[in-house]
């Protein structure tokens, strides 16, 4: 080889590029986190192709995931709607070349793809099973893309897009499986097993922190007669609407689960005796004060009420899950017995001040 020959023109350059590409493929093979994947890739493009900045757009229900790379770093954004550039290329599903200074009938590229020194952009759509899956835009610096650049960009872009799409698919499937295992299929609330698990965990937290925890057992009044008079579909509709109202009126950190056919369990932590009365009364009112709509011909409006039995656990009187649920159940029974559509709180302290005995107390509100 004589001196003065441009290195990039030499075909043996391919060996350097392939080595860099294989190293990258090896490094990213087992990555399941799209951000780590993107960060790894952001620093490696330059070793096998003249790519200074890039964007990958992939479908990710309910919208899209946009992954941007620039200056050795990567960023992920979930978007509901695509930018004009991305939407244009998603719709066209055709490879495209954009050059700085020429309009080319395309919307303006995103800012990071027009950064310092960028000379041209290549857009590649990726199709999986005959459907649009991803669009990748890559920006070259200093010089136009060479044949070698194009070859390696095509090689890697496909692989990158496939890996991201696969990760998202696996994530979706895992989330669906998890939902199946932990959620009640009718109401979408936590299922019985999961809400009891949550209760155990939060009870343990309460023991360690010394803060009080409360449970509220919620039961639909006269549910059997709703089913008998209006049908099981109406009964299901009531349960779904009730679940939504309970969920809407509890804090994000509290847990709401379907405990039985028409029974629900709410776990409130931290929650004092006074707070559980207020919270339970709020739930009772949310049901009693607004009729439920049943989709029928003609549409019906049903008055529904609930009874609530609440019990407390605090650090002064350690209690296990079963005992706590039993006390809430007993309080619920008293609420039903006293006329329904009311809240009854069971409040006992098993550890009385030294030397005194104390009768079980209960408080009612309606």
């Amino acid at each position: 080889m004589t001196s003065g020959t441009s290195w990039t023109a030499l075909t043996a350059q391919q060996l350097v590029r392939y080595e860099a590409l294989f190293k990258l493929l090896d490094d990213i093979r087992a990555l399941e986190d799209p951000l780590k994947l993107a960060q790894r890739i952001a620093t490696q493009w330059k070793y096998f192709a003249n790519v200074a900045a890039w964007r990958l757009v992939v479908q990710c229900e309910p919208g899209f995931l946009v992954i941007d790379g620039l200056r050795g770093e990567a960023q992920l954004t979930d978007v509901a709607t695509l930018s004009p550039w991305d939407q244009f290329h998603w719709d066209s599903q055709r490879p495209a070349l954009w050059r700085a200074g020429s309009a080319a009938g395309m919307p303006s590229p995103p800012d990071h793809l027009q950064a310092r020194g960028i000379s041209e952009l290549q857009v590649l759509p990726v199709v999986r099973s005959g459907r649009p899956a991803c669009v990748i835009s890559v920006a070259g610096r200093h010089a136009p893309f060479s044949d070698l650049d194009n070859r390696f960009i095509h090689l890697f872009a496909r692989h990158f897009a496939d890996q991201v799409a696969d990760i998202l698919l696996r994530r979706q499937a895992t989330e669906a499986l998890l939902a199946r295992a932990t959620r009640d299929s009718l109401t979408g609330l936590l299922n019985r097993g999961t809400v009891i698990e949550r209760l155990s965990a939060q009870l343990e937290l309460a023991r360690r922190s010394g803060l009080p925890l409360a449970v509220a057992l919620v039961d639909v009044d006269h549910f059997k007669s709703i089913n008998d008079h209006h049908g099981h579909l109406a009964g299901d509709a009531v349960l779904c609407q009730l679940a939504a109202r309970l969920q809407a009126r509890t804090r994000a950190a509290d847990s709401v689960g379907r405990f039985g056919g028409e029974e629900f369990l709410v776990v409130l932590y931290p929650c004092s005796a006074d707070e559980v009365v207020i919270a339970s009364e709020r739930l009772r009112g949310a049901v009693a004060d607004l009729p439920f709509s049943i989709d029928d011909t003609p549409p019906k409006r049903l008055d529904v009420t609930i009874s609530i039995g609440a019990a407390l656990a605090d650090a002064r009187a350690p209690i296990d899950v079963q005992d706590l649920l039993r006390r809430a159940d007993e309080a619920l029974y008293r609420a039903k017995d006293a006329g329904r559509n009311r809240v009854t709180v069971d409040r006992r302290l098993t550890l009385a001040p030294a030397g005194t005995a104390r009768e079980p107390e209960s408080r009612e509100s309606a």
Binding site: M1, T2, S3, G4, T5, S6, W7, T8, L10, T11, A12, Q13, L15, V16, E19, A20, K23, Q39, A42, T43, W45, K46, Y47, N50, V51, A52, R71, G72, E73, A115, R116, G117, R141, H142, A143
Partner: protein, 188 residues
Amino acid sequence: MQRYTLTDYQTASPGTRDVYDDFMRTTGAAEVPIWIQSLGHSAPLARAYWERAKGTLFAGNLPLPLKEMIVFVVSARNGARYCSACHAQNVLSLDKALAFEDLQALLKPGPESGFQLPAYYASVVDFATKVVADANGVQDEDFEVLLDEGFSKEEIGEIIAVIDMATMFNVYTSSLRLDLDPQYRAIL
């Protein structure tokens, strides 16, 4: 006068032999170069220098050819006869398209050298030259150039670690005026 002593494998202590063995395993070399043999009298020193080279060159995120090129350029700028010859050899063995004359041309100042590196290589070589000339004088703009090329801050840290390692070896080998190993061809 020869300013250094050499410890060959046969006469080396067990600790030194461990270092020699690790070197040969890692690099695939059949023999231990003069620079390590010159440290063989002290197993801890031999270990320290080798680990510095191993952790910098044979680990991390930068491709080895780029690192070898950095060490070559830095060594040449530091006037290190031994290191520049050794790493010229390494660069040539990693990229068969390059010739010895191409590396000589690279060391000539100015664009008339006619030897062009890919853009990101050129920016790394420029940066290395600046760091060697005056580490205190490196500006934020110099970092911005590398960031624009797609190097992350972590990678730039690795680049500096390579530059620094090269300088360390340059000082050591130059002050001792180590003789070149037979397979090295002097470029300075």
